[in-house]
């Protein structure tokens, strides 16, 4: 202990303060510095601050972000979000552990190079399965790609997301081509950072006159990385999908002329483009897509953008651009032309309901906080989007930080709060960075601070980062976390509107809820209420992922049916597969079978079929997905994320999982289904908070619609061929003896027998599916 240098801890405490609520930021700083939490550092924190040993022990073991053991030099985070799960995240995790020869029960290889950890959801669902090594994301992985990924990582000099953070500065030339590069997390994960870098470098090289602009998420995640060209004088833009660095260079070289001949650019560009789009021979053209193309049309057609207005068109942190697009007009109006009461009325007229999941009427919440007579009130933006399979809030925070800030400022004005926080989950570093940058811009421009928009209205906003706990999306747990405690929910009432942060009345709304507010104030509540159904007004943003052709972020008017979303917008299940169900609402939601897909997107209608609106994750499942496995997946998630406070959630969900584990491994008994359902109903009725109350939903809805699959499992059969213990791999007579399977088998379960039919040794087989994927003859079958 004597060798421990406390300088860093001392400086951190000096910077962050000594109050008990600074515990999470202090722990985060210590972990960033040491890569784990050395005990000596924690003891030093207790010496220096008001943080007690009990608080530090409690908090540092509650949040999954914190590690108490040293980790490898690089951290591999394997995403276990829903989309990744259905696309084989377990296998990917196995592959890394197997390839790195990580001893069982450990998480780090012997050389201490890599630590493999499971993460709940990286929010890059359209790239599933996804992993992250440090800050580098790899998507669309398969078991056999793992060695390549590791090699790639070892041989690249990665500078994190640095490239993605470079900014195009300088004066805009109105005649210059504008090259827009999508820099949402998904795009970055798919390499748009590199694309951006290449474009910049190429332009520099040729001295090209073009504006490179980073834009937020375009929503078409299935096409990332996207590069869009806006050519002066043309009505439509050109969109290039799935661009890599090489193609990015080609795009620049083809479209941008060296400086000095900029005058001829408009004309030239037109000519070039005509050729590009028309010429099938051209390599570039294959990747150019046009909004007039049928699939793109279908993807965009049903959508209605309010929260995501001007999606993909402007630089997320460029305040000027936001203001040119009506930004902060709503706030000005809210301050100068409307009373707080009128604002509340407007939101009530709009019929806006909370977009975080439960759908509580926003206007009523505002009114309650407004009416509280306390001097001090707080406003909080709940950005702890944790549902696996949901990434709407991340996208809104990353791409429309000003819109969320504006909505929040309007809400603050309406309820009379002068201080507030963004609570953003730790897994969203880019969102944190963008909001921080946007807040700073707003302060400089007088949009936040002591006199908002020159009025007497004051508002201070700051960002607090979560530390890896799904439960902190629950409002009372979020408050506990903000106060530097373990994120444990408490019994309501009292509701936060009466007694919230530090016991003061507090308004907590979700990111998307705030993002809709400026539109409502600009266009009026009635215009908003004109969209949607009787009880569900306006639009809803969904993260569409899973077994679907066109995944992405979509915003649709309420009332659109599941079928329209899955089939028209998403293009249906991939070729050769049948759309079976859609999981809506994540771990709190349910699976809606394909036959009920005419159910509209509407709070009550979704509850009626056993799902919930939730925060908006929509994972499409096809005939290769096992519904029992899906139920187990979600239960494992909630079980893992349960805070552990109340009996029904802590133990009840565990016992449900035990039953599901037995069913999935062929040890189920006939009375298990009844016991499972009964327990599910008890957990649902008696759990203390929303997490426990809704955790049984995925189980109950699959029991309701896919009872036959449960029955099949009891008989030892998994109809979808997913449950490892119930399936076997076999090579049939179609085998051509090419040896590919044997060469690729990670466990040497297939002896090499050239020109002869191969066989699989069942005992060695880990059912990793590699052989089936590599077989050119389709000879590997699952039974």
């Amino acid at each position: 202990m004597s060798q421990f240098q406390s300088d860093f801890v001392d400086q951190t405490v000096a910077r962050l303060g000594r109050r008990p609520e600074t515990v999470i930021p202090i722990l985060q700083a210590i972990q960033t510095h040491y890569r784990y939490l050395p005990r000596e550092a924690l003891e030093r924190v207790c010496e220096l601050t008001e943080i007690t040993p009990a608080a530090i022990a409690g908090v540092s073991t509650f949040y999954t972000q914190f590690r108490h053991r040293p980790v490898g030099r690089h951290l591999i985070s394997v995403c276990h979000g829903t989309a990744c799960h259905v696309k084989g995240a377990e296998l990917i995790q196995d592959a890394f552990e197997h390839h790195l020869r990580i001893p069982k029960g450990d998480d780090t290889d012997r050389d201490g190079e890599f630590t493999v950890q499971k993460v709940a959801c990286l929010g890059c669902c359209t790239l599933a399965p996804v992993i992250q090594i440090d800050a580098v994301t790899y998507g669309h992985l398969t078991y056999s790609m793992v060695p390549e990924v590791l090699d790639d990582f070892r041989h690249q000099h990665w500078d994190g997301n640095g490239a993605a953070r470079g900014r195009a500065k300088g004066k805009r030339n109105p005649l210059a081509v504008e090259i827009r590069v999508g820099l949402g997390s998904c795009c970055v994960a798919q390499g748009s950072g590199k694309v951006h870098q290449t474009i910049e470098r190429t332009l520099e090289e040729i001295g090209g006159d073009a504006t490179v602009k980073r834009v937020g998420c375009v929503g078409m995640c299935h096409q990332t990385p996207l590069v869009e060209l806006v050519i002066p004088g043309r009505d439509s833009t050109s969109l290039y999908a799935k661009v890599d660095a090489e193609r990015a260079r080609a795009i620049v070289l083809d479209h941008v002329k060296p400086r000095g001949i900029a005058r001829r650019l408009g004309y030239t560009m037109n000519r070039w483009l005509d050729r590009l789009v028309a010429d099938e021979e051209d390599t570039l053209a294959r990747h150019a897509i046009d909004v007039r193309d049928a699939p793109v049309c279908a993807f965009l057609g049903r959508q209605k953008r309010l929260a995501t207005e001007f999606c993909g068109q402007f630089d997320p942190t460029d305040l000027g651009e936001y203001r040119r697009h009506d930004g902060f007009k709503a706030l000005e109006r809210a301050i100068t032309a409307m009373t707080p009461e009128q604002l509340v009325e407007e939101v009530k007229t709009a019929g806006l309901r909370g977009r975080g999941g439960a759908g509580f009427p926003t206007g009523m919440k505002w009114e309650k906080v407004r009416q509280a007579r306390d001097e001090k009130k707080y406003i909080i933006c709940n950005g702890d989007e944790g549902d696996p399979g949901a990434f709407m809030d991340r996208m809104l925070l990353e791409s429309f930080p000003y819109r969320v800030i504006e909505g929040m400022a309007i809400a603050a004005r309406a309820v009379g709060a002068e201080e507030g926080y963004f609570y953003i989950r730790a897994e969203y570093p880019l969102a944190v960075e963008r909001i921080q940058e946007a807040l700073e811009q707003c302060r400089q421009q007088g949009l936040l601070g002591d006199g908002v928009c020159g009025s007497g209205f004051r508002l201070q906003l700051a960002v607090k980062e979560g530390a890896g706990a799904f439960i902190c999306g629950e409002e009372t747990a979020l408050l506990a976390s903000l106060q530097g405690e373990r994120g444990m929910p408490r019994l309501r009432p009292p509701y936060p509107a009466e007694s919230g942060l530090w016991g003061q009345p507090t308004l907590i709304n979700n990111v998307e809820t705030y993002a809709l507010v400026p539109w409502i104030v600009r266009h009026g509540g009635e215009a908003f209420a004109a969209l949607g159904t009787e009880k569900s007004k306006g639009t809803k943003v969904f993260a569409l992922a899973g077994k679907i052709r066109r995944g992405g972020l979509i915003e649709v008017p309420m009332g659109v049916t599941i079928r329209q979303i899955v089939e028209e917008i998403g293009g249906g299940a991939p070729a050769g597969h049948r759309f079976k169900a859609v999981q809506v609402g994540g771990p709190s939601g349910g699976c809606i079978p394909a036959r009920l897909s005419d159910t509209p997107v509407d709070y009550e209608a979704l509850v009626g079929v056993g799902a919930i609106m939730g925060s908006g994750g929509m994972v499409v499942l096809d005939d290769s997905d096992c519904m029992v496995d899906i139920a187990r997946y979600f239960l494992r998630f909630t079980q893992d994320q349960s805070c552990g406070k109340c009996t029904f959630c802590r133990v009840g969900t565990r016992r449900m999982l035990d039953i599901l584990d037995r069913i999935c491994t062929g040890q189920g008994k006939s009375q298990d289904l009844e016991e499972l359902e009964e327990l599910a109903r008890s957990v649902s009725a008696a759990s203390l908070c929303g997490l426990g109350k809704t955790a049984p939903n995925p189980v109950l809805s699959t029991l309701r619609y896919f009872h036959d699959e449960y029955q099949a499992h009891l008989k030892g059969r998994c109809p979808a061929g997913r449950c490892k213990d119930l399936i076997a791999y076999r090579i049939n007579e179609k085998c051509i003896g090419c040896t590919l399977c044997a060469q690729n088998c990670p466990t040497d379960a297939i002896p090499l027998t050239p020109y002869k039919r191969h066989t699989i040794e069942a005992a060695k087989c880990t059912r990793c599916d590699t052989c089936r994927l590599v077989c050119p003859a389709g000879a590997v079958v699952v039974e």
Binding site: R39, L42, E43, T52, P53, A54, A55, I56, A57, G58, T61, F62, T64, A469, R486, R490, L491, P493, Q639, D640, Q641, S642, C643, G644, K645, C646, T647, F648, R650, V651, G652, R654, R655, D658, I659, L679, S682, A685, A686, L688
Partner: protein, 532 residues
């Protein structure tokens, strides 16, 4: 003052009161585990669930943390709530890594409280030990010599370095008692005037007489042999069971006040019909010999002996009971001794006009199968000495120092809070089945390192009272929840000891713990050896 209705009864409570306060004001008993007056309701155990009827369909809410509101309509005693409370208890029990009663308790046919006896021997309190023994076993000196020791087969330590020498230690205590100037005489009730005839002075008959006599009933034990003892006298060799031990132990039993009429053969010298006339109840305990007589006595016969109701020992003829080998044919002597105790209880219930409900089955949580890795943890609170058999020869049996050493080997598998545990009390009350939700459980651990407070995380129900009490008392180190979800447990920061964590309020915390998660080391427990 808010006025509310609970189970259709109106109650007015002071502002700030909870639904639980209101219920208690009405005298309604709502079970609570995690709640303690004076501390913040943690609303975690959820066994205090009530239903708030206001609003569509109503909602379940923990009464301890729900503020009583004006106009509230509350239900507390419905089938639905009974079920939900029982489910909460069963879920807690499904992860309760602890035995209420030790495995040896269940292995012993007489269900003797073995660990308690061992602790009493450890504490050199032999007078207490014989009381413990004789509560369940009337003939311990005899059984201490001839019993095939099923308790030792059940002993958890048998899976490690050999079972605790329970039988020899019982014999040690019993021998010491017999050798004393005044052997133990149990308290007995004043005479009831009720007469019980017992046919057969074997282990069953003598035991039954011993326990019935304590109830104040006048017992006459008939036997056709010249001396009492039945099969004990002719099955065991003199070397195994010296007759002077048998005689001495029987003599000690008889002191409680019952008559033994030897040389009296029921059936011939004393007609069975006359027994029925002269006595208020008859116990047939004449072993296998009964087969020849049963028909003449009008008693039903089964494959092994007399046919009886297994729970109540009733033969079907009113007032006639049968037990021991008379119903079993061939059973261990300890089984017969146990039968004697159980049938005595049945007969006593019959005689006092109660329903005969058979031997009481105390509620017990059971760990079940133990994993090899857990064994060191079980060994934590016991002596590490190996099992040693007593010397034979001149002075057979243990002498005190060796007996203490051997008794110190007990793992104390039984619960330190058997009587005070609220979880056990309510589980019994609600008929909770501890095996309802089988599944993965946490490993057994008991943390005793350098501490007089023993912490068993497996028994913790996460009520957090210890954390609250320590924080309120300003403990410099204190306690906190560690981890999350299913694995969350109470822990001491920075891996320090419980004594350090609870420097001021250890006694208060132990008293507040609703289970035995935090307990002080019991009298007679040893071992400061750490298993950490």
């Amino acid at each position: 003052m808010p006025k509310l209705t609970i189970d259709q009864r109106e109650v007015e409570v002071p502002p700030g009161a909870t639904v639980l306060d209101a219920a208690r004001q009405l005298g309604i008993d709502i079970p609570t585990l995690c709640f303690l007056e004076g501390y913040q309701a943690s609303t975690s155990c959820l066994v205090c669930m009530v239903k708030i009827r206001n609003g569509a369909g109503g909602r379940l809410a923990p009464s301890c943390g729900t503020p009583a509101a004006d106009g509230m309509v509350v239900e507390s005693e419905t089938e639905e709530l009974f079920q939900i409370r029982r489910t909460a208890l069963e879920l807690l029990l499904s992860d309760h890594v602890g035995d209420c009663l030790a495995p040896c308790h269940f292995a012993c046919p007489a269900h003797m409280d073995v660990p308690n006896m061992l602790r009493q021997i450890s504490a050199e309190d032999l007078a207490a030990a014989i009381v413990t023994i004789k509560r369940d076993i009337a003939l311990p000196a005899v059984l201490g010599r001839i019993c095939p020791k099923p308790c030792e087969k059940g002993c958890r330590r048998s899976a490690a370095d050999g079972a605790v020498a329970v039988c020899q230690l019982k014999r040690f205590a019993a021998d010491a008692d017999l050798a004393s100037d005044e052997p133990y005489l149990p308290p007995y009730a004043p005479p009831t005037g009720i007469r019980v005839a017992i046919v057969g002075a074997g282990p069953t008959g003598l035991s039954a007489a011993y326990y019935l006599a304590q109830k104040g009933h006048a017992c006459v034990v008939f036997d056709d042999q010249p001396q009492p003892g039945g099969r004990l006298r002719h099955e065991a060799s003199e070397a195994e069971l010296p007759r002077e031990v048998l005689d001495a132990e029987i003599a000690s039993l008889v002191r409680v006040g019952f008559e033994v009429r030897c040389g009296t053969r029921v059936g011939s010298t004393f007609p069975f019909a006359q027994l029925l006339k002269e006595f208020d109840a008859v116990l047939v305990a004449c072993g296998a010999m009964v087969r020849d007589q049963a028909h003449g006595w009008g008693l039903p016969v089964g494959p092994r002996g007399l046919h009886v109701n297994k729970e109540t020992f009733e033969t079907g003829v009113r007032g006639v009971f049968a037990a021991g080998n008379a119903i079993r044919g061939k059973a261990l002597a300890v089984r017969s001794v146990a039968d004697g105790k159980e049938v005595a209880a049945a007969i006593d219930q019959f005689l006092s006009g109660q329903t005969i409900n058979g031997p009481a089955k105390p509620f017990s949580s059971r760990i079940g199968r133990v994993y090899a890795e857990e064994m060191p943890q079980f060994l934590t609170c016991s002596s590490s000495l190996p099992r040693e058999e007593p010397p034979s020869g001149e002075q057979p049996g243990y002498q005190l120092p060796q007996a203490i050493q051997q008794a110190d080997r007990c793992l104390h598998c039984d619960c330190r809070a058997l009587e005070s545990c609220k979880l056990r009390r309510y589980a019994a009350l609600y008929g909770a089945d501890p095996a309802r939700y089988p599944g993965q459980r946490h490993p057994f651990r008991q943390i005793v390192a350098r501490s007089h407070v023993i912490y068993e995380p497996g028994k913790c129900i996460n009520c957090g009272l210890c954390i609250q009490i320590a924080a309120a008392a300003g403990e410099p180190l204190g306690l906190s929840f560690v981890g999350r979800g299913f694995d969350v447990r109470v822990g001491v920061p920075f891996d320090r000891t419980m004594d350090e964590a609870l420097s001021k309020v250890a006694a208060e915390v132990v008293a507040a713990c609703p289970t035995a998660a935090l307990e002080v080391r019991g009298k007679g427990e040893v071992g400061m050896r750490t298993a950490e």
